[in-house]
Amino acid sequence: MVLATVFESGLSMEYYLILSSILFVIGVVGVLTRKNAIILLMCVELMLNAVNLLLVAFSNYHGKADAQIFVFFIMVVAAAEATVGLSILVLMYRNARSVDIGLFNKLKG
C-alpha cells in the first residue's frame, strides 16, 4: 500500500532540502506580507528553524555532529534575538502605541 512505500524507502536528502526550503520561503513571504512586527519576528524564527532542519539533515547526511551543535547555537542566538526584538517592540509600543511596521516611517528620504 502507498503508506508502506513511503516508510519503506526511508526519506532521501531531497525531501529535507525541499521541505526546509519551503519553510524558509514561507518565512520570507510572511516577513514580506505581514504588517505586525511580532508576526514578522515569528516568521524570522520560522526561517531560522528551516535552517535548523536543513543543518540537521546535512549533519546526518555527512555523518558529522558539528552541524547539530551549530543548531544549538542558532537556537540560543534566536532566543536572544527574540528577547532583544521583543524588548524593542515593547519600547516601540510605548512610544507609538502600536506594533504595525507600516506606521513607522518617520525616517526617510
Binding site: L32, I101, F104, K106, L107, K108, G109
Partner: protein
Amino acid sequence: MKIEQLVPLILLLPLLGGLINGVLGKKLPKKVVGSLATAVMFIAFGIALNVFFQLHDSVRIDLFTIIRLDSFSLNARFLVDDLSIWMTLIVTGIGSLIHLFSMGYMSHDEGYYKFFTYLNLFIFAMLILILGSNYFMLFFGWEGVGICSYLLIGFHYSDEKKGLLNSIAARKAFVMNRIGDLGLLIGLFLILSTFGTLEYNEVAAKLTELSPSNWMLFGITICLFIGATGKSAQIPLFTWLPDAMAGPTPVSALIHAATMVTAGIFLVVRSNFLFETPGAQLTQDIMLYIGLATSLVAAFIAMRQNDIKKVLAYSTVSQLGFIFVALGMGAYTAAIFHVTTHAFFKALLFLGSGSVIHAMSDEQDIRQMGGLKKFIPITHLTFLIGTLAISGFPLLSGFFSKDEILAHALHHNAFIYGALAFSALLTAIYMFRLYFVVFHGEFRGSDHVKSHLHESPLNMTFPLIVLAVLSVVGGALNIPGSHWFSHFLNHNVTGLDKVAELHVDNSSLITLMVTASVLTIVALIGAYSSYVMKKQLPVSDDKITGWAKLSANKLYFDEIYDVLFVKPIELISKLSHQLIEVLFLNNVVLGVAKSIGRTGDLVKKIQTGRTEWYLLWMVFGIIGLVVYYLVKI
C-alpha cells in the same frame, strides 16, 4: 662634525632666524632682530666654508621621504657637490654681507623685522633650490624664492607716494615668473613621465639606458629654459627685473642681482647632461641667441636710463644674457665663473648705489646727483672699482670672466663674438656714464639734500670694501693658465666632467685680452670726455630724440607687450566670458548638474522609510543574485 650634519645646519640657521624674527620680531628691539638675522647668516657662511674645505666627492644626504607611493616617491634629499657648495658659498657669503648692509640701510624702516624675516626665508629657499638633489626640491625652492622676491619688491606697498607702483611692480614680477614656472613645471612633468624619477643623478643615469627621443629631450630642455628665462629675466620675460628695483636696494642687490636671478643659470648647469644631448642642440642655439639678444637690448636700454638703480638693473639683465650665451655654447664653468664675479661686483654696485641713495636721502635720479666723490669717498672708491670690474677693465675680475666667455664665443663663431664684444663695449660706456654723472662734475641736487650728504656708517661701508676687494681679485679664481675653477667644478659635478673644456692658445688669448682692454679703455675715455670734459648732461625725457629716445623708453617693450599680449588677452577673456561662461557653461554644465540633482531626488524617493519595502528590496536583491546565478550557469 661631518658634512651630513653640517649641511642641514646651513639650511636650518636662516630658517630659524626667519621664524624667530617672524614670530617675535615685533616685540624685539631692532638691534636684536638685525644682529640675529645677520649672525645666523655669518654662521651659515662659516659652516659652508667648513663643508667646502672637507668636501671631496659629491655627498647625498637623505632627510626624509615626503611621499612614498609604490609608483614613485618624493625625497627631501640634498646633493652636496662642488657646484652646489660653491653656490651656497656665494649665497651665504654675499647674503651675510648684504644683511650687514641692510642693518644700516633699513634702520629707519618700521617694517624692519619683516624685512629681515623675508630676507632669511629667501636665503633658506635659495639654499633649498641649490642644495636639493632633485627637481622637486629645486621647484620648491624656486617657488619659495619667487614668493620672497614678490614680498620684498612690494615691501613698501603702504608708501603713500610710490606704494601703488611698488605693488604693481611686485605683481608684474609675480606674473612674469608664473609664466616661466609653468614652463618649468611642464618640464618636470615631462621628466617624470620619461624617466620616472626627479633625482638628478638617476635622470642622468637613465638618460643613456632609456635614450628618449630627440623631440622629448627638446621638449624637456626648452621647457626648463622657459622656466630659466622667467627667473633669470631673459627676453621675452625680462621686463619684470627693472621694475623689481621698486624693492629696497639691498634686496635688489641680493635677490635681483647676485643670487635669485642666477637660479635659471643654475638650473641649466645642473641639467647640463640634458642640454648636452643631441636632441637639445636646438635648445642650446635658442638659448644662445636669446641670451645674445637680451644682452644687447638690455645694454642698449641701459644707455639712457636716468634712475641709478634702473641702469644697474638693465646691466644685470645684459650680464645674464651674456651668461646665457655662454650656456648656449656649453661653456658651463665659464658661466658659473661669470656668475660668481658678477655676484661680487653687481652686489657691490647695488650696495654702492644704495649708499648713494642713502646719502642723497632717497633720491634716485642721477640728474640730481654729481660730484659726490668728495662727499662719500669710500662709496665712491668702491663704486669705481665695481664699475671698472663690470666693464672689464684689465686684471679685474670681470675682465677674466667676460674674457673666457668671449674666448668661447670666438671659438664658436665670429659673429657672436662680435656681438658680445659690442655689448661689452656698451656695458662699459653706460657704466662709465653712470659713474661720471654721479660722482664727478658739481652737485646738482637741492641744497636741502646737499646739507644731508654724509658717508654711510661702517656697517654699510664694510660690505662695500669686502666686495670691492673680491671684485678685484675674483678673477684669479679661473685665471688663464691655472683654470683652477674649471677643474674644481669638473671633478665631481654630474655631467660637467664630460663637457669638453676649451683651452685657447696664448696668442689668441692675448689678442682677446688686448681687444677687450682696448674697448674698455676707449669707452672710459669716451665717457670721460663727454660727461666730465664737456659737462654734457642727460637731458629730461621729453627733449631727447631718435635712438636715445628709444633707449630711454626701454625700446617700448612694455608698450609692445601691452599691445601684443595684455590687450588681446583682455579681449579674449571678455569674449570667453560671454561665449563660454554665459552661453556654454550656464546652459550645458549647469543643465548636467541639474539633471544629476534631479536623479538624486528620484533616488531619494526609493527611501520610503517603510520597513516592508526595504525588506522587499532585500528580497529583490537576493532574487537578483539567484537570477544572476541561473544566468551564469
